[in-house]
Amino acid sequence: MRFFFGFIGHNAFQAWAVAENFFKEISGMYYLTRATFYCTFIEPFRGKPNKWKPIWTQMEEVGVKSTTIVFLVSFLIGVILAFQTASQLARLGALDFVGALVGVSITRELGPLMTALVMAGRVGAAFTAEMGTMKVSDEILALETMALNPVKFLITPRFIAILVMLPCLTIMADLMGILGGFLIGITTLGIDPIAYYDRSIEAMVIKDVVTGLIKSGVFAVIIVMVGSYMAFIIEGGAEKVGENTRTSVVVSMILIIIADLIFTSLFFFVT
């Protein structure tokens, strides 16, 4: 009995400590996000306007340089989807519908999600590693003592860049995925191009693309905020930078999937 209470009590306290820590992180991230929104959307109208040069630099870094990998991944996803579904649909004599299936699943789900996951790995990690190194080498402290707001100076350009670029990349990923499915459909699978095109157009609606873009905006906020928060909390040295970069990628991937689930069910029930 004594052992039982001791055991339960001890573990309950430990679980509570973990939960406390979790909520501490959540509230830290909330405050950083709030400060970022303020610095990005309110401050430019009150004080000095945003500088464009760092935003362009980040846009190039985040957007333009990510196009290759996003194109490749989404094209291959389209190809794979067409292949995988063809045999099942052929048994029903509905091979023409491969186009509809590829189009709908890419625009609704796979386009935004795969792009966000690729970007979480490519860009989120770079954010944490870069700003984390700045934190470790006192550069962020130097900004603060020079009366410059590190949030405005470091996070805002990245925030704007990814908020603009992720939806753009998502649209490109949608197109590439559909193209991949189409090329395989009309060549290897031998579907009539006109039929493929007609079935696709019938099935896809503009609403799917729009909901996909809304989702990718949310994913963008997740990637940049998790990446920045993980960098700003770094204390210590190089070891911690590596550790937090890894955590940043893992956490943003998990949050992206959770947000995806929430938004998908929201769109499912609401519309």
Binding site: D138, A142, T145, A147
Partner: protein, 268 residues
């Protein structure tokens, strides 16, 4: 210029509580160089972090040029911070920017000057630290001494009234130390800058300072001109300035007795 009254700071809670600063009082005069010296862990960096508004003291107050720093709101803090420049131990230059952009950063962000004026001012500051011509290099291409001089150029970019130096001569060769020392003296004499130097380089502190404050375990054990410090009778000060291994300041940082600890070791 800077007044510090009864500053006290502790870290940790309960029995792990560690007093890092105890009743620190100081007065940093305009146009004078004040050095804070002490061994590692004596609390001298903690004093600096309080002066630049990074740490909040448990009690006591700091008045910089008439503005109270402790518990000030964001606007006051920004106003105070524009009055001082700081040269970090590591330089803390922005690695992604060139030397020119590093020095120009405070000017671009805090003034309305046009780009041509900023370019001229950057050139002037680089000339002061003797590195004109290094504008287009990145910090990674510079040597340790050059990084510190660029950091100094950035610290004085806004013509501040106060400059803080964190270990300006740590890890430099003797000639670079001499150059940095001369720069610090020149700046404070010619431009009447109040300089606060945190260092453990005794010869350098003796050369440049008007006043030296020595810290030991978070307390001021001596304050006065270099001459007074040199002639002090206090064995702790003598040990520190002569760098002798034997004396009242212990070398070992361990709390426990060596013999006891050896006896308690268990091997499986």
């Amino acid at each position: 210029m800077i007044k510090v009254n009864h500053l006290r700071k502790t870290f940790g809670e309960g029995d792990k509580k560690l007093i890092v600063l105890d009743d620190f009082n100081a007065h940093f005069e305009s146009g004078q160089i004040t050095s804070i010296i002490g061994g590692s862990g004596s609390g001298k960096s903690t004093v600096l972090k309080h002066l630049i508004g990074v740490y909040k003291p448990d009690s006591g107050d700091i008045i910089i040029d008439g503005d109270p720093l402790v518990n000030s709101n964001r606007e006051t803090l920004v106003r105070i911070r524009k009055k001082f420049g700081i040269m970090f131990q590591s330089g803390a230059l922005f690695n992604s920017l060139t030397v020119e952009d590093n020095v120009a950063l405070p000017l671009r962000e805090h003034t309305e000057l046009n780009e041509n004026t900023i370019k001229i001012m950057v050139k002037m500051k680089l000339e002061m630290v003797g590195l004109r011509g290094a504008e287009h290099l990145k910090p990674a291409q510079l040597s340790g001494g050059m990084i510190k001089r660029i950091a100094l150029a950035r610290a004085i970019a806004l013509d501040p009234k106060i400059v803080f130096y964190d270990e300006p001569s740590a890890g430099l060769d003797p000639i670079s130390i001499g150059v940095i020392d001369k720069l610090i003296v020149d700046l404070s004499k010619k431009m009447r800058i109040t300089s606060v130097v945190v260092t453990h380089e005794i010869p350098s502190a003796m050369r440049i300072s008007d006043k030296i404050i020595m810290l030991y375990k978070g307390k001021i054990i001596a304050a006065g001109s270099p001459e007074e410090i040199r002639n002090s009778e206090d064995p702790r000060i003598q040990q520190f300035i002569n760098g002798s291994p034997d004396g009242p300041i212990p070398f070992s940082k361990s709390q426990k007795d060596y013999g006891e600890e050896l006896k308690e070791m268990r091997f499986s």
